[in-house]
Symmetry: C2
């Protein structure tokens, strides 16, 4: 089955306390987003890449591509008001019938092994998302206060979340709901069971200065 | 109210893939455990520190103290088979009637602000534990498969977990149960409500090479 990757880079970077949207911040002297796209390209150069960017950032991105001599082939879709809308816009440019990965633009450390597990399992079972174990104890907040839960019952969800075309195209033709916290939850709302595969611990989402510090350490390692 | 800190360092370090127990691995050229003890001492040099160490590691620790010229005053208690037993042994050396913090020996990056929030709230309300928000989407595993949950209902638990003497001494006189995943769950099992305060994001537990890499980055920052 052909493979597509929709890379969603809609962030404004406000949590970073900086003016530059977080996906354009430098990691080892290169914008984070370029590292992320390279992770897919290095895993498999035949993956069709759709980059979703806010309309207002496209020219900035194009200038970065010239500056950094970045020329991995890709299509650009416009970001929407919500992540749901952004993914939907990306889907419109995706190869029909292919396996569709939806990935956060600020997760540059996804490994080839994680990508392989996600695409392979989705090809076999319809979908797959990478998860990791909880490293801390967990408490659940309720109206009555809070209580300890069994952390082995909980998994932390990463991306890429990969789906067969039929599942994702059907799921994203629904109206938007606030219950959609990630792509898997959109697909799940159609009644599909979600398949979990192992992610990789370094596959962090870079959204705060602390994350950027970790990212630099990973690059220098 | 007087303050005690029971610092539990019972790890064997197997997850690090190294021979040295993780609490003795070097972070910025000094054993992790020394950084952790210093965090308490620097916050307040009058806190009574009880260090819980496996009996087999005490001599090794004493040699490290000579080597690194480490001389913060503290009592040493013997580690037990379980964390529950280790904390119980630490409690036996703690100042009766004081506020008791139980802290992981491999969390060197707890800030003075987090310590202050924990001790202050425990003094007012009986107990307090530091928590942080979940940064990823969360899925819960069940017999029927897995499903997305609302991540804003979940908090990741750090240490120190601080308790008034009355609560913790009563709770640790219970028989051990496998449901005790941390100190708060032991206290909770006596019917006490647990109070959550804000932790600090860098207050990670160093248990894997990845964590150690983050730790080095934080030290060099």
């Amino acid at each position: 089955m052909e493979k597509t990757a929709i890379i969603v880079a809609g962030g404004s970077g406000l949590r970073m306390g900086k003016d530059i949207p977080k996906q354009f911040l430098l990691l080892a002297q290169k914008p984070i987003l370029m590292h992320t796209i390279e992770a897919f390209f290095q895993y498999n150069p035949f993956i069709a890449i759709v980059l979703v960017l806010p309309k207002s950032q496209i020219e900035y991105w194009q200038n970065l591509c010239i500056k950094y001599n970045f020329n991995i082939p890709l299509c650009i879709a416009h970001g929407g008001e919500t992540r749901f809308e952004s993914v939907k816009n990306g889907l419109a440019l995706a190869t029909k019938g292919s396996l569709i990965a939806v990935h956060d633009g600020v997760r540059p450390f996804v490994t080839a092994e994680t990508l392989e597990r996600c695409y392979d399992t989705a090809q076999q079972l319809g979908n797959a998302i990478p998860v990791s174990d909880a490293v801390e104890s967990i408490r659940q907040i309720s109206n009555q206060g809070n209580h300890a839960v069994n952390r082995t019952e909980f998994k932390m969800v990463q991306t890429p979340q990969v789906f067969q075309w039929e599942q994702i195209s059907k799921a994203y033709s629904q109206p938007y709901s606030e219950l959609f916290t990630d792509d898997a939850s959109v697909i799940e709302s159609m009644g599909y069971q979600i398949n979990l595969v192992e992610g990789n611990r370094e596959n962090i989402k870079i959204t705060t200065p602390f994350d950027l510090l970790i990212g630099e350490a990973l690059c220098n390692h």
